[in-house]
Each structure stands twice: as structure tokens, then as C-alpha cells.
Symmetry: C2
Subunit: 85 residues, 2 copies
Amino acid sequence: MNLRNLRTFVATAEDGGLGRACSRLNLSQAAASRQIHALEAELGVAVFEHVGRGLRLTSEGELLVQRSRQLLADAAMLVEHARAL
Amino acid sequence: MNLRNLRTFVATAEDGGLGRACSRLNLSQAAASRQIHALEAELGVAVFEHVGRGLRLTSEGELLVQRSRQLLADAAMLVEHARAL
DNA sequence: GGTAGTTACGAATTTCGTAACAATC
DNA sequence: GATTGTTACGAAATTCGTAACTACC
């Protein structure tokens, strides 16, 4: 597993689409799409579903985005804690 | 930050040296050394100190290895939880 | 026609292992 | 001289952006 894919996943969920998120992440839309698909393949779960032209979290995605956000926060805390030593 | 570097760090701390850990990680000793140095550079902290021919955790490393182990466990739980959906 | 996401492709970056090195025993 | 960790180098693998495509409005 990979924190970067998790960040892209969370950002996309928060922004409600790839376009918004990938500019915030300094990433092309294609790269963001690939990262999310890689994450889904690894977890064996679809985190987004297609609705119209866009993406929406699945119910599984809703659960995972919370856990992912928590893990990313914990990781950031670890870094912050280390740098404060 | 990077979970793989964290895994290498924790494994090396547990095994008390690169040699033991890197065989367990299916990684060359050189790669393990690089990962740990990259982690130290990113965190701005030395997690190991040289003692004789080997490595030993610094006091900061002692603190960080615990947090790292926890983060890795949380990440594994996330994956496990996702796959169970 | 315009927008959102996906996929193919070659380019750029990262990461790897081998080999040579320094230091300790 | 043997063992442990580090560093240089080219090779392998990953990841990227552009561009072409599909689907929806």
C-alpha cells in the first residue's frame, strides 16, 4: 500500500472529481485516475462509481475515505513528531 | 512519506541490523541502507547510530520505531478492512 | 461542441542489485 | 581476513504527461 495513492483518493473524494483534485495535487488527471484504479485493484473494492460524467463515492468508498484520512493524519503526525525531536 | 521505508526501518530495528532484515524483506542490503537514509533525511532525525560494525537505534529512533510500527499496523488494518467489504 | 474520465505510448524519474569501498572486529 | 554498512554505477521498474478515445450533457 501506498500513501500517495491514498492522498489522491481522499483529495478526489473531497473535491468530488478528478479535475479539481489533480490541480491541487500537482498531478495530471490521467495520473490521478491511474492511482485510484491501482488502489481499487489492490483493495479489491470499487471506491468510486460513475454517475453522469463524474465520479461519486460508493458506500465502501465512504467508509474507506474516513479510514484513509485518519491514516494520512497519523502519518503526518509521525513526520511532525520526528521533526520536532 | 513512504510506508515501504518505514517497513524497512522497523524490520532493521527489530532484527538489529541490515543484514538480517533485508533478507526478510527480499531486498539487498544496499537498498535497505538507502531507504533508511532517505527516511532520516526526510524526518531530519538520525534513527540509527553506528556502534562497532553495526547499527543501534538512537533514543529518537526508539520513539519513532514505536509510532512507525503502529502506523504500519493501521495501514494493514485498512487494507484488511477494505478487502473484507 | 464541451466536459469528465480512461487508456496507450514514449519520456522521465525512481529504485534496484552488483561491485567497490571504508570501518570494525 | 571476515563482517557490517555505505556509495557509485548502469539496469530494471515505476510513474509521469500528452494525446487519442469513450461517454455523457
